[in-house]
Symmetry: C2
Subunit: 318 residues, 2 copies
Amino acid sequence: MTNDEVIKNTNYDLAIVGAGPAGLSAAIYASRGGLKTVVFEKALVGGQIVVTAEVENYPGFAETLTGFDIADKLKAHADKFGAEFKLEEVKAIGVEGLCKIIETDKGTYSTKSVIIATGAHPRKLQVPGEQKYTGRGVSYCATCDGALYRDKIVAVVGGGDSAIEEAIFLTKFAKKVYIIHRRDKLRAVKVIRDRVFKNKKVEYVWDSVVQGIDGGDMVETLHIYNRKLDEISDLKVDGVFIYIGIIPNNELVESRVELDPRGFIQTDEDMHTIIPGVFAAGDIIHKTLRQVVTANSDGATAAFSAEKWIEENSDKFD
Amino acid sequence: MTNDEVIKNTNYDLAIVGAGPAGLSAAIYASRGGLKTVVFEKALVGGQIVVTAEVENYPGFAETLTGFDIADKLKAHADKFGAEFKLEEVKAIGVEGLCKIIETDKGTYSTKSVIIATGAHPRKLQVPGEQKYTGRGVSYCATCDGALYRDKIVAVVGGGDSAIEEAIFLTKFAKKVYIIHRRDKLRAVKVIRDRVFKNKKVEYVWDSVVQGIDGGDMVETLHIYNRKLDEISDLKVDGVFIYIGIIPNNELVESRVELDPRGFIQTDEDMHTIIPGVFAAGDIIHKTLRQVVTANSDGATAAFSAEKWIEENSDKFD
């Protein structure tokens, strides 16, 4: 990278990496607030929500929307205030003094501040049918989709705290909840185990892994392999919730920011990381609840904080 | 209060105090999540936003909405999932073991958990015209309304950090920003003072207080009293931003929860106060950015946390 290249592309106030809800909300706030803002997205604007069939709980939309609808609305809102979008994959983020250098698969850009909004992704089973039925019976979020399974039969895959908590949550709606776990005991802590063992709607499928997901338009059958008995069987369900871990997309900064034990970025309450002028927002940060509305809130706060940070350091950029 | 009265009204899982965005979002999440939820509001559903003429930055609504529109949408969303609303003023919140007793001007209710979402209010000038023109030229939030004053003339009343930061922010849009301050120097910290004194769009009206706000449909004139010269004059403006403090509505719990130095409630990241089962959300909590989207996010997180807390303590309620 020569100096010429950098100078050619300078003059962004803020670069946002990732165009999911957090990034889009940050773009709305930042561009409305007068920051020259660019958003980089490597795949689909909307992020993870575009694989969600129905979003019932983004406050303000009583009508059920698809993830695409929400993404479109957020994108249109950011467009209105003039945020610039580039469908480029960010490969590296450099820091030179207070300036940040963004290298993508197509070019090099410099910016005063950055918001990392690259999100997270659920660990996949990686079995046939999983991808095909995502949003059509396969879900990674009971808080999002549980209410859609009233009086239905669902399965939860996993044995950790969140798997079991979500299984308990699902018993509020579903008439039966199978817990499919590859061992013969749960990894969840005792208080949660005690609670689930008292719940009469829950049935256990021990020592078993899901090998395939089948159905018509929607999920109908799970192909199960019992490792102890070395037997294959089918389980009829209307939905399957996969809780075998969530992985933060932290590759761009993991060695330079503070992470929690699971790899999520630690920010202060202004969404600032320990790198001056580098903020983080949305599913990638350490937080309690990962939802569109919390991502949007993080994004707004990060943009607001970026604007204050630039203003406070304005003499150093001239 | 007799035991009979309490028993008669038991069996709420969650009582939400305040039906602004935080309370409404909490109601959406809680009732969708299967909690029996009641929302108490003493005045208008929607809270402070109903006095905001235009909301341009609730992510997802590119079209400009009135505060009423947003309140209606959030209320309809909460109604859809069955949250119960009571137009009653909460007078006291008692704690008996893990149960909470809510006393209103009309009755007594018991509940497992509470979310305090009573908000905050800007300190008013309390001069003629202020109330009449609120939302029509009088604003208490530059982040909300600044972009509506492109190439207009505005005044900021106040001399503290936020007044001056917002004045600087407003220079991005307005062609001129008056700072009206009752003293002859700013109270804001040096770094902020240095910055504003370099800004050529800002003009100062020292030793002065606003005594009245006038206009037609919208604000046109401020009546100014110079305390040092003992003189009255008129100032032509298109808008006036009043930044003389924001006051948390913390009366119900102030002696029992942790507060920051300005009286806002300190919560943990789950929105939990130090009282088990009592959560707080929205403008009343200690936070960076007070906006509809951040209030909604707090409300969602508080409801999620209340649900987990009830589940964890479920054996103690039976």
